[in-house]
């Protein structure tokens, strides 16, 4: 008998993560050969970005697209370590921390266990960087007096430390806010400045990337446990393939968008070691001590030790 699974995700059809969700379903359906069929529910028509975790936990859907920084910190705040500026240099290092480091494993396994979910594969959101509409961001002083938009609370201590005024604002309001000068700077993925046309107002970008935001395909644990082994195998195998392809693709796409941004007259400044050190100093002295509400000190320490090796 054919097993029918519902895969719900919030991304709009044109979004890179949505394309890979569809590709995931397509390959599973092909290889499942009538044993399993995945029906997809895109654009949050079933569950939104903040609702999907609960839906997976209760079994309202069998599979779901989950954004780590949105859905995991409400269950274990220490997952916020992912979003700490400059902590992990790429997706591979970030993922290894959660898979190989003892403290990382504890966070990762704890979240999946409490939410009764099974990891199927990666489908990342992308690398975050800082953009500005008014001036190049090559020194901490450049931020003084800027009006900064933040989405997650964890971003706020850094804006304050840099001397910027932070405003919380949903994504749909960013374009207008840039247009009328209500905000000057914010962190986002390169794809977003193109997708939302923010680059009409944004003029400067800062590299290296601040952090890498991961997203996942997860399954309801009880449902997964009851699957025949060959079906589990197919899900994990396709999950791994999609994980590798989507990660590569999102990084390439980010580079491509930044190139287009420069062609349009935008400026991307890659910080020199010296400039980077100035930011690291601010982070160490002013930002990290303020992050106690977001990440425990021992977790920050463990992550630092992990990346140092």
């Amino acid at each position: 008998e054919e097993i029918v699974a519902r895969l719900s995700y919030h991304w709009a059809p044109a979004h890179q993560s949505a394309i890979f969700c569809e590709e995931f379903a397509k390959r599973v359906n092909e290889r499942g050969e009538g044993k399993i069929r995945i029906e997809t529910f895109p654009s949050g028509q079933l569950f939104g970005i903040r609702e999907i975790m609960g839906a997976l936990s209760s079994g309202a859907v069998e599979l779901g697209g989950v954004v780590g920084v949105v859905s995991f910190p409400p269950v274990d705040k220490n997952y916020n370590v992912e979003a700490m500026p400059g902590m992990f240099k790429d997706f591979a290092q970030l993922r290894r921390f959660f898979q190989e480091d003892e403290t990382g494993q504890e966070i990762w396994n704890g979240v999946l266990k409490r939410t009764r979910t099974q990891f199927i594969g990666y489908n990342p959101t992308g690398p975050y960087m800082t953009f500005s509409a008014v001036r190049p961001l090559t020194s901490p002083e450049a931020f003084v007096g800027l009006k900064a938009r933040y989405l997650a609370g964890i971003e706020r201590p850094r804006w304050s430390a840099l001397g910027a005024d932070a405003v919380s604002m949903p994504t749909r309001e960013v374009y207008t806010a840039l247009q009328n000068g209500m905000i000057d700077t914010f962190n986002t993925v390169p794809a977003a400045i193109k997708a939302y046309s923010w680059w009409e107002h944004v003029k400067y970008g800062q590299l290296p990337f601040l952090f890498h935001a991961d997203a996942f395909t997860l399954a309801n644990q009880a449902w997964y446990d009851d699957l025949p082994d060959d079906v589990k195998q197919i899900l994990l195998e396709v999950g791994a393939e999609i994980g590798a392809e989507s990660t590569k693709s999102i990084m390439e796409f980010s580079t491509q968008v930044l190139n287009e941004f420069e062609e349009r007259g935008g400026q991307v400044d890659t910080l020199t070691d010296e400039q980077l050190a100035a930011f690291t100093k601010v982070d160490d002295e002013k930002v990290i001590p303020e992050l106690g509400d977001f990440v425990d000190a021992n977790v920050i320490e463990a992550a630092r030790a992990f990346v140092a090796n």
Binding site: M53, S58, G153, D165, P170
Partner: protein, 180 residues
């Protein structure tokens, strides 16, 4: 029967007063928080996420406890074609049927609401705000709200079965406290 109904009506009247007062206070909080958020942002350039995120989180505690209370005053939107055609006994039967349906639906949603609240308590999920608190505190509004609904539906059922309110019997003070 009459003492039971009278007691239930007293209890429900007290619930009604509390729930409406809480609802009014939540609306006041919404107005002040949203206004205050806009004002601080305008005055200082600093915007607080809590001013944006907290007010919608208050909505379930405003809506669900009141939904049951409003059964009493008939404030809910309904098709009243049939009630207007029926009189006396027929109308009482219809009111009893509606009350029974409300009790059945209320019981289903108390269980479903309790399931949801327990789920989020077990997961340990907190709100995604700068000011964190367990999200099941909000989910609790569903079982509480629908329990209130059952209490008011039982009152309606008993009144329909006994016809007490038709004869002016019972302490029906507060029955028409909510008029829209």
């Amino acid at each position: 029967m009459r003492p039971i109904i009278t007691t239930l009506i007293r209890i429900n009247t007290a619930i009604e007063r509390i729930v409406i007062a809480v609802g009014a206070l939540i609306v006041a909080a919404m107005v002040l928080i949203v206004f205050g958020g806009a004002l601080t942002r305008y005055a200082t350039g600093i915007g607080f996420g809590v001013a944006v995120e907290l007010p919608p989180m208050l909505m379930p505690w405003l809506v669900f406890p009141l939904a049951g209370v409003l059964l009493r005053s008939g404030s809910h939107i309904a098709v009243d074609f049939l009630p207007e055609k029926l009189g006396g006994g027929g109308l009482r039967v219809l009111r009893a049927v509606i009350a029974l349906i409300a009790i059945g639906a209320g019981a289903t949603f108390v269980i479903a609401g309790w399931d949801a609240a327990s789920l989020f308590r077990d997961i340990g999920q907190v709100t995604e705000m700068e000011w964190e608190f367990p999200i099941w505190y909000i989910y609790l509004s569903f079982p509480v709200g629908f329990a209130v609904l059952i209490s008011f539906a039982v009152e309606n059922l008993l009144l329909a079965l006994t016809g007490l309110d038709d004869t002016g019997g019972g302490d029906s003070a507060g029955v028409h406290a909510v008029t829209e």
